[in-house]
């Protein structure tokens, strides 16, 4: 009997097992360019948060305290059941764990996390707001998010004694609450729009001012939400000193191999760059639309909406001089942006599943598989190209992403509703 086929099969199986199980070789040192790239991803390279020229109270502690209260207050919704924190849950890096957000109704997109997002010049997946304070206003008037409307927001600020005192200390006088109709907004339903049109210009201006200031306080609070240093940052800082790949086991072999892919063959660092692992810009990566929705035009529509927004950097409620509104003034608006969505940061990515603006992928493994295939986009063109990575390499990339996770560098008082003494929920979470 010829034993050759059996021997060949056994040899092939043994080779496969060796390839699968043997530790891969790692270089002794990163190259100079790799070392520089790794150093650029460390939180040590994160600049201090710059001022928001449109928000004069952005770094005022009193504004942050007011914003903190507002962030957790369900009265800022049409059904008094939804606050900002309903979808931006502290224990999930301020995301919600759902594919698509659910506020007062079913939303349209996945809820992004908020840790470190104050460093971004653009907000929302499609960049339809150009500041954190302008962004904070939009859900308050979107019927399926909070939908309170600016009348209700101004009325709450004026009628709640604590809010009124905090507000007036920062921003000056408010109208009496009984002079502000609860259901009045130029962006609401027909009744709200009708009530809004019935107001005289001075009343409209007073409500708009209070509304804008609520957004500025909410932004002042969210600027407190900064990423904390993780194992990767300690590793990267060591690499910056000597370029050695192994740094006393600070990262596992898989994590190191994943890092090598992240800055090398997988090309993740092209868009996920800098200490927050985001270029804060917009790219089409061929994500299919949400079932039942038309494909999102993404940044193509977003930049047009940002320009129309009454609360943008150039608007009358902004504290910025026009010369300070560089991103808005020089924003690109051509067809290459069709289907492009914002690059999310990856600092706490293991806590913010499901992924992408559609929430289409339940796990990081699915995300990486998508990038490995780089399918043709339904709208525009997919900027990514197929990677051809092996299963093992995809697992290594995922392992590296886990090394980025850390509790936020934010005092625990800001991570729970004001007035509630709770343990830090970030530290209560089981590993995901």
């Amino acid at each position: 009997m010829n034993k050759t086929p059996a021997l060949v099969c056994a040899l092939a199986l043994a080779t496969l097992l060796v390839w699968l199980l043997a530790p891969m070789s790692l270089p002794e040192r990163w190259s100079d360019s790799e070392t520089a790239l790794i150093a650029s991803l460390s939180l040590s390279a994160l600049p201090l948060l710059g001022p928001d020229p449109g928000n004069a109270v952005a770094d005022d502690e009193r504004a942050a305290r007011l914003g903190h209260r507002l962030f957790f207050d369900t009265r800022l919704s049409s059904n008094s059941a939804v606050s900002c924190a309903t979808c931006h849950r502290p224990e999930l890096a301020f995301s919600d764990g759902l594919p698509i957000a659910v506020g007062t109704g079913m939303g349209e997109r996945n809820t992004p996390g908020l840790i470190g997002i104050a460093h971004s010049p653009w907000f929302y997946w499609d960049g339809r707001r150009d500041s954190q304070w302008a962004q904070a206003l939009a859900p308050l008037e979107t019927h399926f998010e909070q939908g309170a409307g600016r009348g209700a927001v101004a009325r709450l600020l004026a009628g709640d004694a604590a809010y009124r005192a905090m507000y007036q200390e920062l921003f000056g006088e408010l109208p009496a609450a009984d002079q502000i109709p609860r259901h009045a907004s130029p962006r609401g339903d027909e009744a709200a729009r009708s009530n809004w049109r019935g107001l005289d210009p001075a009343s409209q201006a007073a409500i708009n001012t209070a509304f804008a200031n609520a957004g500025k306080a909410l932004a002042a609070y969210q600027r407190k939400l900064m990423p904390g240093r993780g194992r990767f940052d300690d590793y990267a800082d060591r690499v910056a000193q000597d370029g050695a790949v192994r740094q006393d086991g600070r990262l596992s072999r898989d994590e190191l191999a994943g890092l090598g892919l992240f800055i090398g063959g997988a090309q993740c660092v092209n868009c996920h760059n800098g200490p927050l692992l985001s270029n804060h810009d917009f790219h089409n990566t061929g994500i299919l639309p949400v079932a039942g929705q038309m494909p999102s035009m993404g940044r193509f529509d977003g930049v047009l909406e940002a320009r129309r927004d009454a609360f943008n950097c150039l608007g009358e409620f902004s504290d910025a001089a026009p010369g300070q509104c560089l991103e808005l003034r020089f924003a690109r608006d051509d067809t290459e942006l069709a289907g492009a969505h914002k690059t999310p940061g990856l600092r706490n990515v293991v806590r913010t599943a499901p992924y992408m603006h559609t929430g289409a992928f339940a796990t990081l493994a699915e995300v990486l598989e998508h990038y490995n295939e780089a399918p043709v986009a339904m709208l525009g063109h997919n900027e990514a190209k197929p990677l051809g990575l092996s299963r093992r390499e995809l697992r290594q990339l995922e392992a590296f992403l886990h090394s980025l996770d850390a509790p936020p560098d934010t005092a625990s008082q800001w991570l729970t509703p004001p007035g509630k003494r709770q343990r830090n929920p970030e530290r209560e979470l089981p590993d995901r």
């Binding site: 760059n273 270029n279 810009d281 560089l326 003034r329 020089f330 690109r332 900027e383």
Partner: protein, 132 residues
């Protein structure tokens, strides 16, 4: 075509005494033989930060060229995409010195910037390639 190709190749890193240690700069020869010196107001040049460039346009005899209209396009040839912003000229603070605002780069790698220069004497152009 050949001239345009050559002007792309004429990229020189030419430090000037007053600014050499502070601001990144490039000097190009345009297709019509003028000199276009580019000085970044962001130093060092880095990704993800919007900033301005100053463009110094001079004739072959080093005379500042006043009243030019300069437009800029660009992108990453290796990634087949354009600039993340739409930079444009917003003024000529001194004769022959032009302010280009809204410059930002969002990826590490090779970038290309193409300058189209409109003058009374006809169109001129220059291209810059650099690594970030």
């Amino acid at each position: 075509m050949l001239r345009c190709f050559l002007c792309t190749l004429m990229l020189l890193l030419a430090p000037l005494p007053a600014l050499a240690e502070e601001q990144p700069q490039f000097t190009l020869l345009t297709s019509d033989g003028r000199q276009l010196r580019i000085v970044s107001e962001l130093s060092p040049l880095a990704i993800n930060r919007i900033h301005s460039w100053r463009l110094y346009l001079t004739d072959a005899d080093n005379t500042p060229v006043h009243g030019a209209e300069i437009s800029v396009t660009g992108g990453m040839p290796d990634h087949d995409h354009g600039l993340p912003t739409r930079p444009r000229l917003t003024g000529e603070p001194e004769p022959g010195v032009y302010l280009l605002e809204g410059v930002r780069f969002h990826m590490p790698g090779r970038w290309r910037m193409d300058f189209s220069i409109a003058l009374n004497g006809g169109p001129d152009s220059a291209s810059l390639e650099f690594e970030l």
